[in-house]
Subunit: 471 residues, 2 copies
């Protein structure tokens, strides 16, 4: 493969004031931040060197793990008809994003032969009882392999699913079957799931201690489900490694990940609190969901590193082109200048389809005849970019030469580095998520979990709701 | 059915300053708007009476249409294995939302028997060539019925799909087969698709002239796909009619649709430019996509009715509970106070599943044993509501007693009226979408469509992009 030909391109012309007008970013805006940018560049290097960003090394230190996964897949794929991920957050969004990008959009409806012998993929990320019950209408326990993913083993949603399924396997297939039907992905030594996995004799994979959930797609969290569906995980990691080289460029203005972080940082300062990712490819639609977690959870923070209350963070929004031209673009074009739109485009789609030359005399249709859908969607992307340009709505475009393992690896890595860099500029901790504790603790208190009595008292003391505000 | 027991409830306690603190809305905020509210209430009545909101009458004037649809479904469902909607915007989002709410989440993977004899449903809303080519890997042309939906017949995406499929049917099944395999939903007399449908002798349904795309789910646009998948469209309309009675209450403070519009209007005035819909039910997840179009396209406007440039509109965001507690809630809890969160909850899920009492001695897991997932997801919803309350993030909750045709009809109708009312308060036209024209015209110009030569010149004259802004 010609790696150079598969390199992503970030075009941020339409972010710049000298093209888009005063709603854009000026060279002066950059100049003012010179010191801050240099400090952030330096911090990225230092943090990596000091082990503060272990996810950056994932493209390089997993040869043995990849081999193990590939062997495991080879040994099991023949008997497995359904591979079921039990995971939530990054443990679900990453696997879904990569599967949808690389594999057939109707994967689970294909015959096993058309799936080249690989199983169907289900991702159970919610505790909606309707959904889990429905799953058992379409899978056969005897030919299902469940991958429980939780670093801490304390994730109520995932672990309760695990408990239900383990019990079900024991009851229906016998106690010995658990080993065959469940594979665990968890911490090497800490937490609740590791001792259970060891005790039950489960095959297990490790989530490295220094890698958080939303940065874990390139660990076994994402690699195992991907490989199980026939995705070439070695090339996925090579794509990430290739992007890492680009992300090491110490000049932010030549470094697409740093540049993305910088542009968003300035945009946030200018009051643009919405980050839209609008992919012009169905295959990339779920990358936007994965990005939404990465961007929201990393940058949505109450405190900065000096302890000041800052309440920062952009809200990520997923959109799909051309589809959402008929849903969201009216707002993007005419609404407030409160958003940054990232278009994700594809140079070459993996299929081609031509519109027949019929209805030549009908003005609305005639011009379409003989063109391809490839040309149509491309043109619509450019036209929407133009419409937003004209409306002075800041936007940029990330172009993917073609969707494949190598480019998807690049995309994931680029956004991860961009997130880290934005966090540096914002002077926040991009790698924690203290804000989710309150809801967890309230859940425990409502459940009457021992140790949460104080929280229960706090809940009981909350002001009573008024009837007149319920209609 | 006890209709009263199936009534939706809107709880907006956590929008109010006397509960949530100064980030909320005060009774005084309401008082100041008294005149404006009354004017909007009056305008809603008048607009309806003057034929300015024909969609409001859809629950009442379609007896014959419903009968026709039901007959058509009965006459065809046996030979149809795949029902394929060709539509975009409201013509796709509505059918998807209702199907996902009412039917099995893995509908297309069920046997026809388990689908009670009804076909699979595919909605082709994009022109990504990969997606359309992939569709033909999973459907058989001989057992497929295509529903082309376009009011004007000028929708390039949908009409090009229609052209491709019509040609394919003629080539593979013969010219006579077109009539059997394509059903059209379009305007009664105007536009490009109507004469084609008549000429080809297609069975066709009518989109009423006064009903726009995003308000069309309760016309044959949504009714035909729903009925074809066994959904009781009569009850869907009854639910809408029931909600209409509630929406006619002339006191906004007792009218959930008007209240929703008012609360969002005040929130927008206070700078809250993001409207999140977080459903605690997989079945309601796609209602949020449908809402996103309705809310974005209706309220995202550059001009008010007096011709002032206002650039208004909230950006809608879809979230799913409990799943997105592990993705978005960190941001909602700690980020800027720039959003209104609407939780959508369910009193009674259609299934129940119990967590087994195992691992009783493991603190992280023991408290879960014996509880149901129903209780877990409910509790998590309440806990998240509490977490946002504590963080002074304004939120409200729309509770659905149970997901069924009657309640889904209510939901759709409630949001439609809420949108209309918000539009009145904002003094904008909620029923047009002038902002999508620019992109359409640019597409035509780039395609070299006759009549768009001036636009082409304008495009060619746009400032050139700089290489240094592409990395």
């Amino acid at each position: 493969m010609n790696k150079e030909a598969m390199k992503l391109r970030l075009d941020f012309n339409n972010m710049m004031a000298n093209l888009i007008g005063e709603k854009g970013i000026s060279e002066e805006d950059f100049a003012i931040l010179e010191g801050k940018i240099e400090a952030a560049e330096k911090a990225m290097v230092e943090k990596r060197a000091n082990g503060g960003m272990d996810w950056r090394d994932l493209p390089y230190n997993q040869d043995e793990i990849v081999e193990d996964i590939v062997d495991y897949v080879e040994a099991n794929k023949d008997w497995v008809e359904s591979f079921v991920v039990l995971g939530i957050g990054g443990s679900a969004l990453g696997p879904i994003a990569v599967q949808q990008a690389i594999n057939h959009p109707h994967w689970n409806e294909l015959s096993k032969e058309k799936r080249k012998g690989y199983p169907k993929l289900y991702v159970v990320d919610n505790v909606d009882p309707e959904k889990l019950v429905a799953l058992f209408d379409v899978i056969d326990l005897e030919t299902s392999l469940f991958n429980v993913i939780s670093k801490s083993g304390g994730t109520s949603e995932t672990m309760s699913q695990f408990m239900i399924i383990k019990e079900k396997i024991e009851n229906e297939l016998g106690k010995d079957a658990v080993k065959k039907h469940i594979v665990a992905t968890t911490d090497a030594s800490k937490g609740t799931l590791r001792p259970i996995a060891d005790e039950e004799g489960l095959k297990s994979y490790i989530i490295p201690a220094g890698v958080g959930g939303r940065f874990s797609e390139l660990t076994p969290v994402g690699l195992l489900p991907a490989a199980m569906c026939g995705i070439d995980i070695k090339t996925l990691l090579e794509g990430a490694a290739y992007m890492d080289e680009i992300c090491k460029i110490d000049n932010t203005f030549k470094n697409p990940a740093h540049m993305y972080g910088l542009l968003q940082y300035i945009s946030m300062q200018q009051g643009k609190n919405i980050s839209i990712v609008m992919a012009y490819a169905d295959g990339l639609k779920f990358i936007a969901d994965w990005y939404a977690q990465l961007w929201a959870e990393s940058l949505g923070k109450k405190y900065d590193l000096d302890g000041n209350v800052v309440n920062v963070g952009q809200t990520p929004v997923k959109a799909l082109g051309a589809t959402d031209q008929h849903s969201q673009v009216q707002l993007y074009a005419e609404g407030p200048h409160d958003k940054v739109v990232l278009f994700m485009g594809v140079d070459k789609y993996r299929s081609e389809i031509t519109i027949p030359e019929i209805y030549g005399d009908v003005p609305n249709l005639g011009f379409l005849g003989g063109a391809t859908h490839n040309k149509l969607i491309h043109t619509e992307q450019m036209a929407t970019e133009y419409a937003l340009f004209k409306a002075e709505q800041t936007n940029m475009t990330l172009t993917v030469p073609e969707i494949n393992e190598f480019t998807v690896g690049q995309i994931l890595y680029l956004f991860e580095v961009a997130t880290g860099f934005a966090g540096e500029l914002m002077n926040i901790n991009a790698f924690d998520q203290p804000g989710v504790e309150e809801g967890k603790n309230a859940t425990y208190a409502m459940f009457g979990r021992p140790g949460y009595e104080e929280k229960k008292k706090e809940l009981d003391a909350r002001p009573e709701k008024k009837d007149k505000y319920i209609i």
